[in-house]
């Protein structure tokens, strides 16, 4: 039987004690927002010891660096991602992307504490996956597909837990849901909490007033602002990458 290539990567990382968390499309599968993805993205603890273990795992997967920057603490600490392509059997051509900082998210150590663990008894693997709330935060990027996924992640959590949610969970839904119908429903059902959240998310005023049209517009504007923040965050990093790429071509 052909193994799941993502599980092969995960088991190799585990074997080499690489401290990292599964993020991106594979994490979305675990939380029920997607069914299939070829992404293999990780947020990794950035220190020399862990990167050494990571390099050993990459060797086993016959993975080579396919773009700048090099796998170095200094680049990862500045927010760059490193990209690899595997050549080992069962993972041939699979790309692995690693990063150590996610824009808008807490540092790795906090993400690690808040992670979820999924045990696959048959495969003998325990998967360390980024927590749902951190995953949602990490999806506030400049990419269309991330916003679709973000919306679905929160909606799934509402559907799965709407019977007896804690106040704290309702607060999170009110602050993160991107579905006007859900926001209006939540604001109606949990008015007191919705009012408490107004300072952090003023558009909840439209949800409280059941003004769908205005709420839709405000959700769109909120998304545009977040996308712009992401573009601004990446601008200097992209510039640096361009210079690195230029230098590597000259060498």
């Amino acid at each position: 039987m052909t193994p799941n290539p993502i599980l092969k990567v995960l088991s190799t990382f585990k074997k080499h004690k690489v401290k990292c968390l599964l993020i991106g499309g594979q994490a979305c599968i675990i939380y029920g927002a997607a069914e299939f993805s070829r992404d293999s993205d990780f947020v990794i603890l950035c220190n020399n010891e862990n990167l050494q273990q990571f390099k050993k795992a990459l060797n086993v997967l016959k993975a080579r660096l396919i773009y700048v920057p090099a796998l170095e603490v200094s680049y990862l600490e500045r927010g760059h991602a490193c990209h690899f392509r595997c050549k080992e059997k069962f993972v041939e051509n699979l790309r692995i992307d690693v990063i150590s900082k996610l824009r808008g998210c807490e540092p790795f150590e906090k993400l690690w504490v808040r992670r979820n663990r999924v045990a696959l008894k048959k495969d003998g693997i325990v998967i360390d996956v980024i927590g749902l709330r951190d995953l949602v935060q990490s999806k506030k990027t400049q990419r269309d597909k991330d916003w679709l996924m973000l919306k679905r992640l929160v909606e799934d959590d509402i559907v799965l837990n709407k019977a007896h949610p804690s106040d704290e969970r309702v607060r999170w839904w009110l602050l993160e849901s991107r579905n006007p119908d859900s926001l209006i429903m939540l604001a109606g059902k949990y008015l007191k909490i919705a009012k408490e959240c107004l300072g952090d998310r003023p558009l909840l005023s439209s949800a409280i007033n059941s003004n769908t049209q205005k709420l839709n517009l405000e959700l769109h504007e909120e998304e545009i602002r977040e996308r712009q923040k992401d573009i601004e965050y990446w601008a200097p990093l992209r510039k640096e990458l361009e210079a690195l790429r230029h230098n590597s071509q000259e060498e």
């Binding site: 052909t2 799941n4 070829r38």
Partner: protein, 62 residues
Amino acid sequence: MKRQKFIPKRVLGFVDEDMEWMSLTPSQRIKETTKLWQLYLALGGSLDPEPDPQSPFYFQEA
């Protein structure tokens, strides 16, 4: 991770397949996605990621 509760009712905005998928536990979802991988690879699917020009990670490989 805790086992998700089974969701018997269809919810507005979700099709039955979505509800079915959501009702699985995380480990069951991985098992199911493994089956999709097997089918995908049997049909000759590549492990290359889809090009995503919107991504700040996007680049043309040499």
